[in-house]
């Protein structure tokens, strides 16, 4: 793993040539995008003038000959089409620059951190897998995932990507959006074999007891039975659900509980974990889009790119933080 000081050195040396190229490329794209905006605005102005002309009081549409009527309709269609084309072209240009930026800037940062890591800006974890992990117990009908980073750190395979999932529905001509998850999903190979499902969720999900003179019965929840663990600090931070309580304790050994508390404090966000089929899925929420270029603001300054470094290091550090390269429990 590279330290932040090493990253700073990399930024001040080798990275500067990538940064200069990226700034040049951005100017090129911004010029093209502005030109498109200009044409789009021009088309809108033509259409507005056209509409004003048609709505002049003395003007009578019925008196126009068929040729003028056809011409008017054609001008209108052409205007609307041009606006659509300009906006589509702008979108395409933005995507092109985003691809360039990710393949040049983000890729080099990833390779600097660990040259064995693979980065695929246009790939992610598919919706079926995200849905089957079931970390959120909320339906979604819109989903996208990109910026997949994947590799093997010593004995542990890890991949992580950005995910956005939400539920969208039309309600009286209004779009209702119910967000399910925005952030990073990390999938890591766990160092023990297990078959069931164990969930470690923020503690607010812990309200599942029905008390009756201390004889309270644990309700079965969507994620399985609520498991009360011995570590009081861990219990304050998380609620654990599982379909097999011995397996849950096999996974969440006393040392792993401590390590998870430390990791949660380091991340300082409401993390969720699922242990499924000998894999760990870890969801870290982020409000903003990750690894996206800023067309009109700071692009490759240190404060921007060091964020990428922190996000990647945070994701990779789970392997060491949870001691996943210790393979003494029968799993290679």
């Amino acid at each position: 793993m590279k330290t932040e000081n090493e990253f700073k050195d990399f930024f001040n040396s080798q990275f500067q040539s990538y940064a200069a190229d990226a700034i040049k490329q951005r100017s090129k794209y911004v010029r093209k995008i502005f030109l498109n905006y200009f044409y789009a605005i021009l088309s809108i102005l033509v259409l507005i003038s056209f509409s004003i002309a048609l709505s002049i009081k003395n003007f009578n549409w019925e008196n126009l000959s068929i040729v003028y009527k056809v011409l008017a309709v054609l001008v209108f269609i052409a205007g609307v089409s041009l606006i659509a084309i300009f906006f589509m072209k702008t979108r395409k240009l933005k995507n092109e620059f985003s691809n360039y930026y990710k393949n040049k800037i983000v890729m080099n940062i990833v390779k600097f951190i660990d040259k064995n890591l693979e980065y695929n800006p246009n790939e992610g974890i598919n919706a079926q897998e995200f849905s089957s992990v079931d970390l959120f117990n909320k339906p979604f009908n819109r989903y996208f995932s990109d910026d997949l980073i994947e590799g093997t750190l010593d004995k542990t395979h890890i991949k992580f990507c950005e995910i956005h999932a939400w539920y969208e529905q039309e309600n009286n001509d209004k779009k209702d959006i119910d967000k399910v998850f925005d952030g990073l999903l990390i999938k890591v190979d766990f160092n023990k074999n297990f078959k069931g499902k164990t969930y470690v969720l923020p503690d607010k999900n812990d309200k599942t007891y029905t008390y009756f003179f201390g004889l309270g019965e644990k309700k079965n929840t969507h994620w399985g039975e609520l498991i009360k663990l011995e570590d009081i600090e861990f219990e304050k931070e998380f609620a654990v659900f599982a379909d097999d309580q011995i397996e849950a304790r096999f996974i969440l050994s006393t040392s792993l509980m401590r390590r998870l508390i430390d990791y949660k404090r380091k991340v300082d966000k409401k993390i969720r974990l699922a242990f499924i089929n000998s894999w760990i899925y870890l969801a870290i929420p982020f409000k903003e889009r990750l690894f996206e270029p800023n067309l009109f603001g700071r692009l490759v300054t240190y404060d921007v790119v060091v964020q990428y470094y922190h996000i990647i290091q945070l994701s990779l550090s789970i392997v060491d933080e949870l001691n996943l390269n210790t393979r003494i429990w029968g799993k290679e």
Binding site: G214, L215, I246, R249, F250, S253
Partner: protein, 189 residues
């Protein structure tokens, strides 16, 4: 119906329903304890199955630890053949854990054995099953603590007494295991 009759009916219902609920809760707790111990027992059996492999793998190398190996075999035979109480099983398994630990420490003295593929695989399986047993013990302790709370806390303690339910012991790490492993002493034995 006047107020007095309603109060009487509510009281009668409470007098019947309330003890019934406590009774059911206590039974549920007792069954949970038995269920969890059965799961733990299955894990202990998994370890008994590994012991013959361990003996077969290490006996040719470890001439000086023959006594320990014989003891493990005896403990295993006792554990799988006898009709033991829960407490006896716990005690016996503590001894097995200790004896296997001794073998694993002694292996450090035999580099050939330590690096043999057979032993490495066996050690991984043993570590896995030990970790599972440890998880099983923690689960058992959590369930027994809930059961013990129900048996000792008011008002369920009254019903528990009538039903003859008694406090159960939890797994504790014995003194031998608590102490740090003293390698020198292990080899002197």
């Amino acid at each position: 119906m006047d107020m007095f009759s309603i109060i009487i009916i509510v009281l009668i219902v409470a007098v019947i329903i309330f003890p019934l609920m406590i009774y059911n809760a206590l039974i549920r707790r007792k069954n949970q304890v038995e269920n969890t111990f059965a799961s733990l027992d299955a894990l202990l059996k998994k370890r008994y199955d590994l012991i013959p492999n361990l003996i077969a793998t290490v006996k040719n190398y470890m001439e000086f630890e023959k006594d320990t190996l014989t003891k493990i075999t005896e403990l295993r035979t006792k554990a799988i053949s006898s009709n033991l109480t829960t407490e006896e099983k716990v005690e016996l398994n503590n001894e097995i854990t200790h004896a296997i630990g001794k073998v694993q420490v002694a292996v450090e003295n035999y580099p050939d054995l330590k690096s043999s593929q057979n032993f490495l695989q066996l050690q991984a399986s043993l570590n896995e099953v030990e970790e599972q047993i440890s998880a099983g013990r923690r689960a058992y302790n959590a369930i027994v603590t809930q059961y013990n709370n129900a048996v000792e806390m008011f008002p369920s303690n009254i019903m528990a007494k009538l039903m003859g339910f008694k406090r159960r012991g939890v797994f504790t790490i014995n003194e031998q295991e608590k102490q740090n492993v003293d390698v020198k002493n292990l080899f002197k034995q």
